[in-house]
């Protein structure tokens, strides 16, 4: 069977599975299951959190970026996992004890202020919207390749499916759909990794193959040494050495970590477990499930990079395999024969380099480059879509509840009926999909980079506000509001200035303290903390009942009922 046929089969098959599970679990008594039964088990919740969390950025984009960044790619790996330690230790148990429905709910109640709630709504919507853009772009890349259309059409198809999927109502509301999505995406990521690891190193665990010797067919020697050598030969940086400044890597890692702990669509997952103890456990399980992919990704990056160089460099253009020309039609691989010798020169020097490879295609192209069977190639497409859709649905849920629940019902239109609330929620989803799709067609950066901006914004706004709400009883609304405004706007302006207003200046010599726009969220976080702390000490302390809430969430004991998400 052809790749195309397998893709249709696996993509539709997995979609059928998600919808089937949704209908099936709906048929059972949902309410009894979630509330009287006391919520979802920590393992299932861990898997669902992992699916929510691992987006097109983790699945499609990250390993590809790492394969071009080498050791510098570390900030994605550590940043997107290390944040779970912060989430588990500093936020999840307390937010569960607090027991509300959304992040703006917590901010609004803890800081006893409508203004604080509105700012939180605004931040939640902006963060989720930036994040959805990354997913649209990711889904677009998958469709463009497997339906053989250009990237714009790919994104438009992706928009349609994401919209249908999110509006279908409650798809996201069923944890077990996400459990299925986790299984599909992890299977799709691991199978090709294992195949390639066996082919190249003879080890079937990719994490071990990463540090092992290549087989005879690949020329022997340690994989990483070989890759370092190949990179140097072609004038690229040594793979296992860093290129970016230490402080930039430090700040980007920190921004991704703080952002992880402040992302609204991940935080709400911890409201679904029965009690505080399970909230802690569930963060632990989520990280295990995430770690499976995250420890494989650097191995995939190294395999893919080696294979790509081996396959294309100095090879005859007319002899290139099918996948090459198919990616060419999407314009994500571009070959210009500068010296007219009919061969591909793939080198670091832009004057003689003849091949442009979009980083985002590496994971999708990897099984084809390695010559794996067609079903494996198709499986990766289904996995990439599962990753993009599960995250997009989670984010759209945050956007729609922010608009309908936090913004309209809790603030401006308390008398709104449930039907109207649902209507506004759907309008919000529609607008978000259109905006995200429009930007997704002309993305300002690679998927994982766009997503990194969302993390910077979350780091600079929510993380400090929530953490101080728990650990600093003296923190009042004036401090929190000014902190969020300063942190968010500083980070947003820095990113907008360097990415959109003056992209020519976007290099290390113009950055503040050598920190790139991806890492500026850390400065935003620090600014937020400093401003909030200073302001709160010159303004009256919060009322007694708020201080009582803080004491209540700090202690173990019965938490309010779980809510379904």
């Amino acid at each position: 069977m052809s790749v195309q046929l397998w893709t249709y089969l696996l993509v539709f098959g997995s979609f059928g599975l998600y919808i089937g599970i949704a209908i099936w679990t709906r048929a059972g008594s949902t309410k009894e299951f979630y509330i009287a039964g006391g919520g979802v088990s920590p393992i299932a919740n861990g898997m669902a959190t992992a699916a929510d969390w691992m987006s097109a950025a983790s699945f499609i984009s990250m390993a590809g970026l790492i394969s071009f960044l080498g050791r510098d790619g570390t900030f994605y790996l550590m940043g997107w996992t290390g944040g779970y330690v912060l989430l588990a230790l500093l936020l999840a148990p307390y937010l569960r004890k607090f027991g509300k429905f959304t992040v703006p709910d917590f901010i609004g109640d803890r800081y006893y202020s409508k203004t604080a709630r509105l700012i939180a709504v605004f931040c939640a919507i902006s963060i989720s919207l930036v994040y959805v853009i990354g997913q649209m772009n990711g889904a677009g890349i998958v469709f463009s390749r497997f339906l053989q259309v250009d990237i714009t059409t790919g994104v438009i198809i992706g928009m349609g499916i994401v919209f249908f999927y999110a509006v279908l109502g409650g798809m996201k509301g069923i944890t077990y759909t996400q459990v299925a999505q986790y299984c599909v995406l992890i299977f799709a990521f691991m199978v090709p990794a294992i195949f390639i690891s066996i082919m190249m190193t003879g080890h079937f665990i990719p994490q071990i193959g990463f540090g092992a010797e290549l087989t005879e067919a690949y020329g022997g020697g340690y994989l990483l040494d070989r890759l370092d050598g190949l990179s140097q030969e072609l004038g690229f940086a040594v793979y296992t050495e860093g290129q970016r400044s230490t402080q930039d890597v430090f700040f980007i890692t920190a921004a991704l970590m703080f952002g992880t702990a402040g992302l609204p669509h991940v935080i709400i997952r911890f409201f679904t477990v029965p009690n505080v103890r399970d909230a802690r456990k569930s963060a632990g399980y989520a990280l295990i499930f995430i770690a499976v992919l995250y420890t494989t990704a650097p191995a995939v990056a190294a395999f893919a990079r080696t294979n790509l160089i081996n396959t294309v460099n100095n090879a005859e253009y007319s002899m290139m395999p099918d996948w090459f020309s198919q990616w060419e039609t999407t314009r994500l691989i571009v070959f210009t024969d500068k010296n007219d010798d009919g061969r591909i020169q793939y080198v670091a020097d832009p004057a003689t380099n003849e091949l442009e490879v979009n980083r985002d295609i590496m994971v999708l192209a990897n099984p084809e480059i390695a010559g794996l069977p067609n079903w494996v190639v198709a499986l990766v497409a289904a996995g990439g879509l599962a990753a993009a859709l599960s995250t997009a649905a989670g984010l759209l849920l945050v956007i729609s509840t922010s608009v309908a629940h936090d913004f309209l019902k809790r603030t401006f239109m308390p008398k709104i009926t449930e039907k109207q609330e649902l209507l506004y929620a759907r309008i919000a989803i529609f607008l978000a999909v259109v905006v995200a799709g429009y930007v997704g067609i002309n993305p300002p950066a690679y998927v994982a980079q766009v997503v990194a901006f969302a993390f910077g914004l979350a780091a600079a706004s929510f993380f400090p506000a929530i953490a101080m709400g728990i650990f600093d009883k003296r923190m009042n609304k004036y401090g929190a509001i000014s902190g969020m405004i300063v942190g968010f706007s500083f980070t947003a302006l820095y990113i907008i200035y360097f990415r959109f207003i003056n992209p020519a200046a976007d290099n290390a010599s113009n950055w503040w303290f050598g920190i790139s726009p991806e890492g500026v969220g850390t400065l935003g976080t620090l600014a937020n903390l400093a401003v909030a702390y200073a302001v709160s000490h010159f303004t009256p302390e919060p009322p007694q009942e708020v201080q009582d809430i803080v004491e209540y969430i700090r202690l173990p004991g019965a938490a309010p009922d779980a809510v379904a998400h």
């Binding site: 050791r71 330690v85 994490q207 050495e241 890692t253 700090r554």
Partner: protein
Amino acid sequence: MTNEHAVSYWKSNIRIVLCLLCVWFVISFGCGILFVDALDNIRFGGFKLGFWIAQQGSIFGFVILIFIYIYLMDKLDQKYDQAMAADSKRPKGGVAQ
């Protein structure tokens, strides 16, 4: 805080969190970023140690840290529950909740 058990519970909680966050910082920012070049001089198998910690080792470390936290907090919660239960049996104990 309304009683001494609650105060000591919160203090122990903060101590656990701070200790674990120190380890978290040393693994990720310390070994993975600040001292990565020095650690790269040590090799095992095909890996340079610093590179391995940065790309794989730290992630295993994070998982272990969270499970240590779960274990320690479970023990602390139990201790607190027992202390509260013991108090509520005594007539002149602390404030029972």
